[in-house]
Each structure stands twice: as structure tokens, then as C-alpha cells.
């Protein structure tokens, strides 16, 4: 394709009108984040809800499932982003484009991350205040821990949804 002698990072190519746009690395990571958090949190709830229904609440074993869910959501986000990046790079190479410059983050990615952060930070104070109220009511630690984990996860999913919305529809709302 274009000459690759120069040292400076190459500009992403200018797509033609009918050409599909390239999904950058940050947008791929946002998709991965949605699925990683939805699946691990769903699995956590699927494990603990039957236990809550069947056992007395102070005997419910929730710590091990929670640690697994947290660990797996982190691992899944990292591995998923790597695989999404490799897949994208292979596809771009087949299309004859330079994967490095096409997938790289730019100032729009930064602006979108900020846009999403400013619209979804509410999850954090909700978690802190809710956990504080639950602790004051002296409910079982299962409820406090699960509340923190599930609402934080909802916040992460909301953040990724707002980012993808910004990528596809622009900075609205």
C-alpha cells in the first residue's frame, strides 16, 4: 500500500464513503467489558441466589464465588481485549491496512472515555452510601458484599454502554 519508509507513526487511512469503518482498540475493549462483566456477575448471582433461598443467610458461602467472579471479570477483560486486538489486526492486514495506526487510540477515544466517565460515576457514590447504610443496619455481610459487587459491575457495564453509544451515535445525552 503506501510507503512505509518514514519513521513517524502512519496516519490512519481516510475511508471511502462506502467503506466499513474500523473499530479501534478502545471500542473493542468497551464491547469486551460489557460481556465480561455481564457474564461474571450473572454467574455470581446464579451461584449465590439458590444458596440464599435454601440456606440460612449467615451460612451462605459467598466469598469464594465473589472472588472468582472478580478475578475472572478482570482476566476476561484483559484476555478478551487481547483477542479482539489480534482479531482486528489480522482482519486489517487482510484488508491491506496498517493495524498499528488503525487500532491506536486518539483524542476522540480519550474524549469518549471522559464523556462516559462523567456520565456513569454515580455508581460509585451509590455503592459507598448504600454499603454504609447496609452496614449501619447491621445486615449480614453477604448483602453488603453482594451489593457493592453487583452495583459496581452495573456501573462498569453502563460505562461501556455509554462509550459504545458515543462511538456509534456521537456525544449525546
Amino acid at each position: 500500500m503506501n510507503g512505509s519508509e518514514h519513521k513517524l507513526p502512519r496516519e490512519p487511512h481516510r475511508p471511502a464513503d462506502d467503506e466499513p469503518t474500523v473499530m479501534g482498540m478502545d471500542e473493542r475493549a468497551a464491547w469486551v467489558q460489557i460481556f465480561a462483566f455481564a457474564i461474571t456477575t450473572g454467574a455470581y448471582l446464579a451461584v449465590v441466589i439458590p444458596r440464599v433461598l435454601n440456606d440460612p443467610i449467615d451460612e451462605v458461602e459467598w466469598v469464594v464465588p465473589l472472588l472468582w467472579a472478580m478475578g475472572l471479570s478482570i482476566v476476561a477483560t484483559i484476555l478478551g481485549s487481547i483477542f479482539a486486538g489480534i482479531g482486528g489486526a489480522i482482519h486489517l492486514t487482510i484488508r491491506g491496512l496498517d493495524p498499528d495506526s488503525e487500532l491506536a487510540s486518539d483524542s476522540r477515544d480519550k474524549a469518549i472515555a471522559r464523556h462516559a466517565r462523567l456520565r456513569t460515576y454515580w455508581a460509585t457514590p451509590v455503592v459507598a452510601l448504600g454499603a454504609l447504610i447496609l452496614a449501619m443496619l447491621d445486615v449480614d455481610t453477604f448483602w453488603i458484599g453482594s451489593f457493592i459487587y453487583v452495583v459496581t459491575s452495573i456501573g462498569a457495564i453502563a460505562d461501556a454502554v455509554v462509550r459504545i453509544r458515543a462511538y456509534r451515535r456521537g456525544f449525546v445525552g
Binding site: L66, L118, T124, P125, A128, L132, A135, M136, D138, I148
Partner: protein, 141 residues
């Protein structure tokens, strides 16, 4: 000074007073009753601190809003600054929630979990107001 800037400054002072009042009550109870800190009846003082602090903050906001009645109270800049500062404070509160979650999995006494959340929540509100005031004085990055 806009209404937001005024309420931020008053809120910082109110936050400091309620935070210190809560700890004074807890420590005085622990010392006078000669019990360990986590056995003190802490729920009542904490609830009172949050409710009274919140009510005074709401009252001060109401007064400032009433003084500025008939004028435009906040514009796009106020809105941006508020959002920016709240997300900065939320970052600190997030650390507190993570710490609380770890403490819960380690089965620490609920008193310490609640105290961590309360203290970090207070620090987050300090970050929030500090960033707000700095943004009014020096602009946003």
C-alpha cells in the same frame, strides 16, 4: 461567586464539622465507657452525622438559591465543573468501596467496614470540593 461555589465552600466547612463531631462522640464514648472502639454504639452517631450534615447542607443551598432568586443560578460552566469534580471524588469513593469489599471478604468487624466507608466518603467529598474550588479559581484541565 456563583451559588455552586458558595455551597461548595459551606459544604466543606459543614463536612469537616460533622466528621470531627462524629469522631469526638465515638472516642468520648469509648474512653468514658472504657470499651474497645468497635464495641461503641456507632450507628446512631453516624446516622445523625449524615442526616444533620445533609440537612444543614440542603438548608445552606436553599438559602443561597433564595438569595439568588430571579437570576440565572448556574450556567454551562458550573455544570461542567460540578460534573468534573464529582467524578474526581467518585474515584476516591471507589477506592473506599473496594477496600470495604476486601474487608468484608476477610470477615472484618462491621464497625471497621462502616468507618472505612464513612471516612473515605468524607475524603471523597473533600476531593470533590477541593477540585470544585480549584476549578473555579484556576480553571479545569
Amino acid at each position: 461567586m456563583t451559588v455552586t461555589e458558595r455551597t461548595t465552600i459551606v459544604g466543606t466547612i459543614l463536612g469537616l464539622v460533622t466528621f470531627l463531631a462524629f469522631w469526638t462522640v465515638i472516642i468520648v464514648r469509648a474512653v468514658t465507657d472504657d470499651v474497645p472502639l468497635q464495641d461503641v454504639e456507632w450507628q446512631g452517631p453516624m446516622l445523625t452525622a449524615i442526616l444533620v450534615g445533609g440537612a444543614l447542607y440542603a438548608l445552606s443551598y436553599g438559602i443561597f438559591a433564595w438569595q439568588a432568586r430571579g437570576t440565572r443560578r448556574s450556567d454551562e460552566r458550573d455544570y461542567e465543573i460540578q460534573r468534573y469534580a464529582e467524578s474526581a471524588g467518585a474515584g476516591v469513593a471507589g477506592l473506599g468501596s473496594l477496600a470495604a469489599l476486601i474487608m468484608l471478604t476477610l470477615d472484618v468487624d462491621t464497625f471497621w467496614v462502616a468507618t472505612t466507608l464513612f471516612t473515605v466518603g468524607y475524603l471523597a467529598s473533600l476531593v470533590n470540593s477541593g477540585v470544585t474550588i480549584a476549578a473555579y479559581r484556576q480553571g479545569m484541565p
